[in-house]
Amino acid sequence: MTTDSALLRAEAAARARSAQTRKTIRSAINYAVMIGLAFFFAFPIVIMLVSSFKPDEQIAGDMRSLYAFIPRNITTENYSCADYDLATSDCSPTPGENPGLFERLPFGRIYFNSVFVTASIVIGGLLVNSMAAFALARLNFPGKKLLLTAVIAMIIIPFEALAVPLLLQVNSFPWIDGSSTWINSYQVQIFPFMADAFSIFLFYQFFIGIPKDFDEAARVDGANIFTIYWRIIVPLSLPVFATVAILQALTHWGSFLWPLMATRGFEFQPLPVAMRVFFGQAPRQWGDIMAFASLATVPVLILFLLFQRWFVQSVASAGVKG
């Protein structure tokens, strides 16, 4: 009897142990898969960063081994910049070194172009699109249904297809500085993207969910419509403003086709177009290219890490609402 119960107990213990082992194994596999995926998503970025601190001649050769991930013969020559000239965003080359990124192109100016254009589109877009959505969601006027359908239909229209005719069109637009064309300017990169059907739609979805009582009460108190928009709706809608801002910023930070066609030279070109040009320019020095890519990527990554919660919530709500 005792031996039997001892056996049973041993069996149960063994079963528990094996369940425990199975759990451990499953958890190990789980982590292995997640680490493998993390490697898949991170390796290009890590290689980019590490390579940007290597001499140009070494980068390709290091891809044969683990050295792809290990900094050795660390150099800052790809980032070097002597006598930086703020006005022209130019550096004179350091004697005896391969010319680095800053010595080969006005990187500061290009960076500014990207930041300025993206910020202008985002800020202008928030205003313009939320105003339109406000009218569609909370005001009564004839033709409202039709306009709403038009906005939803426009979400599908790929801007890319219209770029060539639009190029001819903006070519003959005047601007306040007296020039008779928009080609090669900031305005040509900003205004076509300010109004955005998808942004209007996101705002509309949010605004329509705010209870009508809020503005009715304000109206009774004599508030005009602009006040309702500015003092009531906007403060209540900060999450959707963040969503639209982040989605628009992500899209236009990567803006490529349109500035490729509508700008020339680094005076107005944003980072992605400048990268395409720089990449196509002989001699192709990978050290400089990696430095370019790192500088274009790392600040955004840092911003993303700092505001991760916002980022994630914003992207998430775009989907849930849509």
């Binding site: 140009d56 001649e57 980068i59 390709a60 891809m63 080359p93 010319p99 010595e103 080969r104 192109l105 190029l167 001819l168 070519n171 306040i176 500085d177 007296g178 008779s180 064309t181 080609i183 090669n184 490729l260 066609m261 509508a262 700008t263 020339r264 030279g265 680094f266 005076e267 395409r276 040009v277 720089f278 990449f279 196509g280 320019q281 002989a282 001699p283 192709r284 020095q285 990978w286």
Partner: protein
Amino acid sequence: MKVSRVLLGLLLVALFILPMTASAQPAEISVFFHSGRGSERDALDTIITNFNDSQSDYVAVATELPEGSYTDAVNAAALSGDLPCLLDFDGPTLYSFAWRGYLLPIDSYVSDDLKADILPSIIDQGSYNDHLYSLGVFDSGLALWANREMLEAAGVRIPTGLDDVWTLDEFDAALAALKEANPDNFILDLKMNYGEGEWFTYGFAPILQSFGGDLIDRSTYESAEGVLNGEAAVAAMTWLQGLFDKGYATSTPPDDNEFINGNAALSWVGHWEYNRYATELGDNLVLISMPDFGQGAATGMGSWNWGITNQCESPDGAWALLDFMLEPEQMTIMTDANGAVPSRISVLDADERYAEGGPLNIFVQQLQNGVAVPRPQTPAYPVITSEFAKMISEISSGADVQTALDNAVDAIDADISANDGYPSM
């Protein structure tokens, strides 16, 4: 209220700025130029500064545009009507601009003395439709840079001039010997990493021509049929494809350093690598004239050249600047920086590098002995070069040669017929 005040402010600013720019003195000469390697760019900056210091009638203001997308940028400027006074073109792209009417003929500016001192190849390159439209500060040289030690180690004969260039068989044997001696290396650096721009046409059309083919039928300039896809062209491009198949060259070099890091024994590239190669290889560097693939050796010629646009308000000033660039001292600043062949015979004669026995003398011999072949003088050139480059990129990654050539011919012929054969106005 606020809005109207802002508008008023903007209006005032506009009114204020406009007269300011209009009344600027002295006359501004706007310049576009391609920014290639750093040294070329610095040389041009120096020349522009020298010009501005040398006189007070004009101020030259240069805008550099990246080489990779230079033609796109110039087209965009033509579209928006803000072409500069003076701009440079990569070789034959100027014919399409001249045909479309955006360039001024410069015949009346060029004195007979100056014309007589300029290399005939440069005059040819600048001529279209019986007018001279452009002049270049330098001509180019394309040949084989070789690593002497590697060639000697493989027992390969090193030609010394134009008379003893490699034949096709000899070149094949040399490549085979080099590959055997360095089985793990791509022993021939074809600069496939240049990827886009003019290189593929400039660098590889000479193979086509030495085999007896060409880019277009030059008697009519109306079709590439039978010329770019004829037997000779197929043989030429099949041979070129063989270089990749046999592992002599790679279509995807990881970087620009195959020759200087000692992997490649031969580098098929132009004069512009001279300074870098000479620094890295020293006495080990030797320049070899192009092989003869059957119908006589051929090499590229022509280079960046300057033209004056019809949107220029003071063409005289633009010419003054171009004339200044052609002055021997200024020309030397440029050619010292990029190793190119100076376009004035007097400057060329004075340059030790190009004198007999000099390290770059081969380039001069190629230009003066009919080895160098001009690229086709037709407004269809932009399409010819982009189709040829596409064809090269395809056969280098294994496409069927005849099909790739046929496709190029179809695209070129379609462009010519879409433009009714490019009739001149």
